[in-house]
Amino acid sequence: MPSRTSPAAMASPGDDPDRVDVPEIAEFDAAMEAVNDVHAAALPAVRSLALQRDAADAYDGLVQEAARLKAKVVERGDEDSAARLLCGECVAGALMSTLRLWIAFKEGDMSTAWNRTVDAQVAWTGALRAHPIGAQFRRLAVVPFQVEHVLFPHIAFMSTGMIVRKSECTICGETPGECDHIRGHVYGGKFAGILVTEAEPREVSIVDVPADKRCRVEQITSDDVTRDALTWEVLKTANGADEVA
């Protein structure tokens, strides 16, 4: 039995009283339990890099497994199971991103650490939205948002404004609004979105809450000194000489 003291041990798309008996969900639950049993111990930040690298690979494998099983239930038209497996896929992805965040942080690669933090936020948000069973992860989902404020400085984000001439629904390819798919809802184990196919740029803004937190100011130049916005290391000085980063 998996330890219930581990946050990751909660991570199961079938782990709710209304659980349905679907072989693919049972298979994913078993795979998740197996990975949690071995690798959940690596989730705290202070664990060794070697443990965390192995664990990140294991959760990455779980993401692929969820996608494989999801394809099978989608083939049967089982929308609810597909959404549950999407939730599981997101949970595994969130745990993987959290591990990769710690790895990058310890390796001193702060840009990657930031991107993995955002990946974890996006994945947990996906888990919460994919299916009502995601509600059990609300407490865990706030962790990467807390990490953002504890580990990183205030970041200036960029936002691109566009005039969209043509776009497609990511589920069916129709013009959004003309089909029955609603952005943010789940269909066939996928979130519906909008793919912009023809647009003209309008403006670039600095915003507090961007759509994608990976779009950020990476370097800051002040008094002829250019610094990395995260590490504050000097990248370039007035005479153009590059500093050792």
């Binding site: 989902a141 798919h181 915003v207 809450v209 961007p210």
Partner: protein, 170 residues
């Protein structure tokens, strides 16, 4: 001067019928989404829809609500896409004819939007802001607006404000 109460703002809005004539688009007489720059655009070709109008269109259709479009499926208005995390809803126009025929329909139309936005952000960590404007046409053709801007999960607060506005034209 617009009056602001909490995150609800009441204001005046140009006559939608007159703006429609000036822009060369049809005068809406029912439930309509107005482009963002409907009040200020110089020509019909300049009109820009909100990125969220497609979701609202589908929600309304699935709720069997009849939308009166100012554009057409064959020639939709270009859409504004701003890559921030806020949910910026379209401006909803409620004609005086619609209000006198079926004010309950207005509540349903707004309810499906507010439920969608609330569900989208319920329990999701982080700061999520939503905005939605409703323009109500008086019997004399004048228009007033009520706008919500605030936490996405509280967008339902606009419902009471719209009810106040629509019931005060007795």
């Amino acid at each position: 001067m617009p009056v602001t109460s909490a995150s609800i703002t009441y204001g005046e809005y140009p006559s939608v019928a007159e703006r429609a004539d000036a822009l060369g688009v049809r005068r809406p007489t029912g439930l309509t989404m107005l482009p963002r720059n409907f009040a200020t655009a110089n020509a019909g070709d300049d009109l820009l829809a909100e990125a969220t109008d497609s979701a609202v269109r589908t929600l309304w259709r699935q709720a069997d609500l009849e939308e009166e479009r100012l554009d057409s499926p064959e020639a939709p208005f270009p859409r504004l896409s701003e890559h921030h995390a806020d949910w910026i809803g379209p401006t909803i126009f409620v004609s005086s004819a619609l209000l006198s025929e079926s004010s309950a329909l207005v509540a349903v139309a707004l309810g499906v939007i507010t439920n969608y936005v609330t569900d989208l952000f319920k329990g999701v960590p982080g700061r999520h802001t939503a905005s939605l404007k409703v323009v109500v046409e008086r019997k004399n053709g004048d228009c007033v607006s009520v706008a919500y801007k605030g936490p996405a999960t509280k967008i339902g607060e606009i419902m009471d404000a719209v009810t106040d506005l629509t019931s005060s034209d007795g």
